[in-house]
């Protein structure tokens, strides 16, 4: 698969897309946030220095989920009262995108759910509210207000310059997991499951001194 190449409209640096349907990326030289248009890349903003965060995952980390290889191509970093939390954007070998969230080294893999789900507006959600999707009952366990910290790499949508974002985290009795993301006008539903670190057989992780 040929990787689309381009140049940063801000600094001229080479931009390589790993994810062919990426909508947005960041320039690794000047940290410009770039959005793909039909013809070229447009600078829409700039990412501030991302604070050091404790995730062992980084752009380029590779792994396997349900027998499908993936590579980490981007991320959104949030901060909430339990510290930093990353939504790593995964590109699977079949070109499908997914998410690996990492909060205090607890991992979950999910994907955007385009089901018929009718989601309540953000002011109507509360802890304990249940939904049934595809026969599984999901119950809201926490409603989190997180602060958007920054983005890095390729994302499947335009996402920058957010402030506070509301999320509802849902769980099932079987370890399924879902998030309702209220960062856009229409809430988005992501569904997946909690996973063990070892299950993902991750490679190209960052290193920790002494470990």
């Amino acid at each position: 698969m040929s990787q689309p190449r381009s140049n940063c409209p801000n600094c001229g640096g080479t931009i390589v897309f790993r994810f062919s349907s990426a909508v947005q990326t960041t320039c690794e030289y000047c940290r410009s946030i770039l959005v793909r248009t039909d013809v070229d890349l447009k600078k829409v903003g700039e990412v501030a220095d991302l604070p050091p965060d404790p995730s062992p995952i980084q752009l380029g980390t590779e792994g396997i989920y349900r027998n499908k290889a993936f590579v980490v191509v981007g991320r959104i970093l949030y901060e909430y009262e339990q510290g930093g939390w990353n939504e790593w954007h995964l590109m699977f070998q079949d070109g499908v995108s997914g998410w690996l969230s990492d909060a205090q080294a607890e991992y979950a893999v999910s994907a955007l759910s385009k089901g018929p789900a009718k989601l309540p507006p953000s002011q109507n959600i509360y802890k304990g509210l249940s939904f049934q999707w595809d026969g599984t009952i999901y119950t809201i366990s926490t409603v989190t207000r997180a602060r958007y910290v920054g983005v890095q790499g390729e994302l499947p949508f335009e996402y920058w310059d957010k402030s506070e974002v509301q999320f509802a985290d849902l769980r099932s009795v079987t370890g399924h997991f879902a998030t309702i993301d209220y960062s856009e006008e229409t809430p988005l539903l992501f569904r997946g499951e909690f996973v063990e670190f070892d299950e993902l057989r991750l490679k190209n992780l960052r290193s920790f001194e002494g470990w």
Binding site: P52, V173, D198
Partner: protein, 434 residues
């Protein structure tokens, strides 16, 4: 850019604070002055300062690494928590273990009992087991053991939450030994964790600690029973053995000769004071060397009679002698009818070779107190000889012996379970003092 394990300084006492959590922890305790610091703030804001009557030393020191579940984990935090039961405080220790890739795990220690704990993300399903509260998780049912309010009384090191001495959580424990599911309600959020019982020696090996771990005291909530498996298995085994035994008994009955070889009725005249001894006609005892049953049936009533008997081989003259008293008394008193003794007797002679035999019979009778005045009645009796009979008593002894292990295990099993549940919310109250 990799942040290194930070060494910072306590804003209260200036002592150095070693941070081992790579930014995953939210609070750390200064070992010098016991200030609890917010590790999310660059200057380590003081969250709380607490006083401790005495310094409590963790059995596994902070910074020690051990191998668990195929990965290395470092002890980065330690807390002492307690619950009050009937105004008695029970304390246990919790170790925060950390691996920068795999995250946090915990070890709890109470009276030498260790549990290896991992937070879980699924929400176990509420159910009931034998009418009691229970939860289901991954196909197992966990029985409710205890609900309590746990408070933190002492902390050291780092925690993935903002720890405070004095903070309380509603804790619920459910057990399915060796596993335990616990829920903790923190700030409206219910957090579940799954624990597995560990021997102190396993922990000592994992963390390469010298010496030996403290000996466990009593029975702990999720301690696996040393009487492994339920006693049901021993009962099943016992019953299988009993049925095998009964089957062999039946087989033996089918294949044994078990046949009458001689039968004759006689009358004894007690009036005859003379010699009553006589011999029976000769009869054939066939088959392999085996037993012979000699049965004497009489019609004695409120009387006794004594028989001197001998089984004599007609060919060799070899004799087996024995004597038997047969007495039977009955009557009626204030308690109703009573009876004593029996009107018949059976003797089994073992290892009698095949051959031609006869019996020598010598009945004896003497009037005793009650019958002296009565006219002595004739006593009728019959002699019967059977070859190769089934002897029942060894089977009757063997059946309870075969079931004895199962009974023993049941007693052991329930003894252990009773000790376990004594510490629970279901100790039954009355009777036991503790």
């Amino acid at each position: 850019m990799t942040p290194k394990p930070q060494a910072s300084f306590c804003p209260n006492c200036g002592g150095s604070i070693e941070l081992r959590g790579f930014g995953q922890s939210l609070s750390a305790v200064c070992v010098q002055c016991l200030s609890i610091l917010d590790t999310k703030t660059p200057t380590l804001t003081i969250l709380q300062q607490f006083q401790a009557r005495e310094r409590i030393l963790p059995l596994i020191p902070l910074g020690k690494r051990g191998k668990l579940h195929g990965g290395e984990y470092e002890v980065i935090g330690f807390q002492v928590r307690e619950i009050l039961v009937d105004s008695v405080a029970y304390q246990w220790h919790e170790y925060v273990l950390f691996n920068p890739f795999k995250g946090f795990r915990y070890l709890t220690q109470y009276d030498g009992h260790w549990t290896d704990v991992k937070p879980i993300k699924a929400i176990p399903e509420k159910t009931t087991k034998s009418g009691k509260k229970a939860v289901r998780y991954l196909g197992s049912t966990y029985s409710h053991f205890q609900s309590a309010t746990a408070s933190t009384v002492y902390v050291l090191g780092e925690f993935p939450w903002r720890v405070r001495v004095g903070e309380t959580n509603q804790v619920e424990d459910y057990v399915s030994p060796p596993r335990m599911l616990s829920s903790e309600a923190t700030e409206g959020e219910e957090v579940w964790s799954l624990g597995e019982y560990k021997d102190g020696s396993e922990i000592w090996r994992a963390f390469k600690i010298g010496g030996s771990p403290p000996k466990p005291v009593g029975v702990y909530a999720n301690q696996p029973s040393p009487h492994s498996g339920k006693p049901t298995e021993s009962w099943i085994l016992g019953l299988i053995l009993v049925s095998l035994l009964l089957f062999t008994m039946l087989l033996a009955r089918v294949f044994m000769f078990n046949r009458e070889v001689f039968q004759q009725d006689y009358t004894y005249f007690p009036g005859d004071r003379g010699e009553a001894s006589f011999v029976t006609p000769i009869f054939d005892v066939p088959g392999r060397t085996s037993n012979v049953e000699v049965k004497v049936t009489t019609n004695v009533e409120n009387a006794w009679i004594f028989f001197n008997l001998a089984l004599i081989n007609d060919d060799t003259g070899e004799a087996r002698d024995w004597g038997r008293e047969i007495s039977y008394y009955r009557g009626r008193d204030s308690d109703g009818n009573w009876s004593e003794g029996s009107t018949s007797d059976s003797t089994i002679l073992p290892s009698v070779p095949a051959g031609r035999y006869y019996l020598r019979v010598e009945p004896e009778w003497s009037p005793d107190g009650s019958t002296t005045m009565q006219v002595a009645k004739n006593i009728q009796y019959s002699l019967m000889v059977r070859r190769d009979v089934t002897i029942l008593w060894p089977y009757l002894v063997a059946v309870p012996l075969l079931l004895l292990p199962a009974l023993f295990r049941t007693i052991q099993y329930w003894g252990f379970e009773q000790k376990r549940w004594q510490e629970s919310d279901y100790s039954g109250g009355g009777g036991e003092d503790d």
